[in-house]
Assembly symmetry: C2
Homo-oligomer: 330 residues x 2
């Protein structure tokens, strides 16, 4: 296997990758994270996204009633980056599990992410008309169908895990409890609620971090954690990848805030500058761009340091994903 | 235990109960369903609803962020009839399971029902401002919070089953698969989608039945089925209560259609006559009131006949619930 993480980040995924990721200071106890520099991240990403797309396509086939299945497939198969499924699959693989055992959870994480995008875009929420350069779900199918498609996707994500995961029933139950918490009122939804209630206010940094952790990081965290659970990982290893997931999740959101003020709508494929327009609290608004970039860098380094106990080749995809999340441009 | 099903239906639950439920024709093979005539249904309903209310209150305590938990509790603890939890608990009891083993699933069914009401009432769906005589969730908390509260409740229902059910992991996984299908695109959501797409059209009876079965019956069906699964029932018994659930579910919806044209808003606690106003297909609109009442009666009788293999005392609550659903006035 050719390994060259930093030198081969795809143009589609990041042009800044090899330049801006600061190498972690080497320690005597553990090899520096940048040692995995021959891993072909681009190839890994393309191959894994393709496998995930095939699995998602098969997981939600067309059926009666067509409208809702069309609506679900429109958003679910719209070519997202599949970061969450990759985290789940890579975590499972790093901890010794088969890819097939993690695929249902991987698909479920993408279904939940898609549900949150469909509902977020609705007029009563962010009122966005563009997503990934295409009309948002409610623009294409109507608000009622978009609402219902999101509900169906959320319910189906749990059903899919329950029906398709070839792990022990104990592991499946644990995965479902983990995913449920990640989505609920002290997870993704909780983060969105505090975000909404903070609009137009200068909130303290700890509230902003609470929003970002819950709005984004918990789902990335759940992705690696569910992959670890179905791999049969030890509790210690589950908690280690959980902390990795939380770090890259918070990093993801800080970078999102940064991109929103530095990139155009064309590059992002969505309406840029909305966060500043609506006076939402963001890292750049609260701390400035330079300090925000430093925080993102620190989160990225800490995430990779958490993976150091694991085999360098096995952890390469998660190292690559941490770097991608840190250095992405859209 | 005193048993007097038909003579003691509470005024709150039904004044028509003892008069309009036609006794099933006795057969030589099985005792007539009306034999369970000493069961105190009113007492059972009051005691069980109270237990369910206590369990729901404990299942969703107030927490940060307060807004979404307040919104969830506002709708979840608004004093619904708790028909779905009762079906789940009664099914489990009839099939030899402990009440405590079914309580998490019972609560989850009510959470899902509440989620569907919150989302149904939203402006992009039915645009209702009254529910159980009180302002609907979005009127009180705003459309964005109502949307998110529904999402959180849906996710939490699965988490709650996974974390709290003291059954075998195999049974829990089976329950989650069952509940997921009942909510999803070929369940509750599917029924709502076909309902929406049928507005203003005269649809054939089979489409109307598909709508009613999926919009309402699948959740009642899932309620009794999950109760049976955690009781450790045989596959045959699970399928028997499934058919009972489907029958009373379809009966529930036919009666709902009938009540909508025969009762006032004050009695129903919601805006009456909406279905006819918006030219939705309903049983009375398609077949007339008399024929609709006959169908409801047949469904009720068939449902009770399915329970005949079970002990008369043990099946009394499900017989009572079938009669209540058939003869309710709100």
């Amino acid at each position: 296997m050719k390994m060259r993480v930093h030198s081969s980040c795809s143009a589609a995924f990041s042009a800044r990758c090899s330049r801006q990721v600061a190498p972690r200071a080497a320690s005597a106890q553990a090899p520096p994270a940048v040692q995995v520099d021959d891993f072909d991240f681009q190839k890994y990403v393309m191959a894994t996204a393709e496998k995930v797309n095939v699995a998602l396509d098969a997981a939600v086939p067309m059926a009666y009633p067509e409208t809702v299945h069309e609506s679900i497939r429109y958003s679910l198969l719209a070519g997202g980056k599949r970061v969450r499924p990759m985290l789940c699959l890579a975590s499972c693989d790093m901890l010794g599990g088969e890819e097939s055992v993690a695929m249902p959870s991987a698909c479920a994480m993408e279904m939940i992410h898609t549900m949150s995008l469909i509902h977020d875009d609705m007029p009563c929420m962010d009122n966005d008309s563009l997503r990934r350069g295409q009309p948002t779900n409610h623009v294409k199918y109507g608000d009622d169908i978009a609402l219902l498609a999101g509900d169906a996707l959320l319910a189906y994500s749990f059903e899919h895990i329950a029906r398709e995961t070839k792990a022990t029933p104990e592991q499946i139950v644990r995965v479902i409890a983990e995913v449920g918490r990640a989505v609920g009122s002290i997870g993704l939804v909780g983060g969105q609620v505090v975000d909404i209630k903070s609009e137009g206010k200068k909130v303290p940094l700890e509230t902003l971090e609470w929003i970002h952790v819950h709005k984004t990081a918990v789902l990335l965290e759940a992705s690696v954690v569910t992959g670890a659970i179905v791999a049969g990982a030890s509790d210690d290893d589950v908690e280690r990848v959980r902390q990795y997931g939380r770090n890259i999740g918070l990093c993801f959101q800080v970078v999102d805030d940064i991109l929103d003020v530095t990139q155009s709508s064309e590059t992002l494929g969505k309406t840029a500058g909305k966060d500043l327009d609506s006076e939402k609290s963001t890292y750049p608004a609260l701390l400035g761009l330079d300090e925000s970039r430093k925080i993102a860098q620190r989160l990225n380094e800490e995430a990779k340091a958490l993976l150091e106990p694991f085999d360098a080749e096995k952890r390469a995809p998660l190292v690559g994903l941490a770097d991608y999340i840190y250095s992405r441009t859209n």
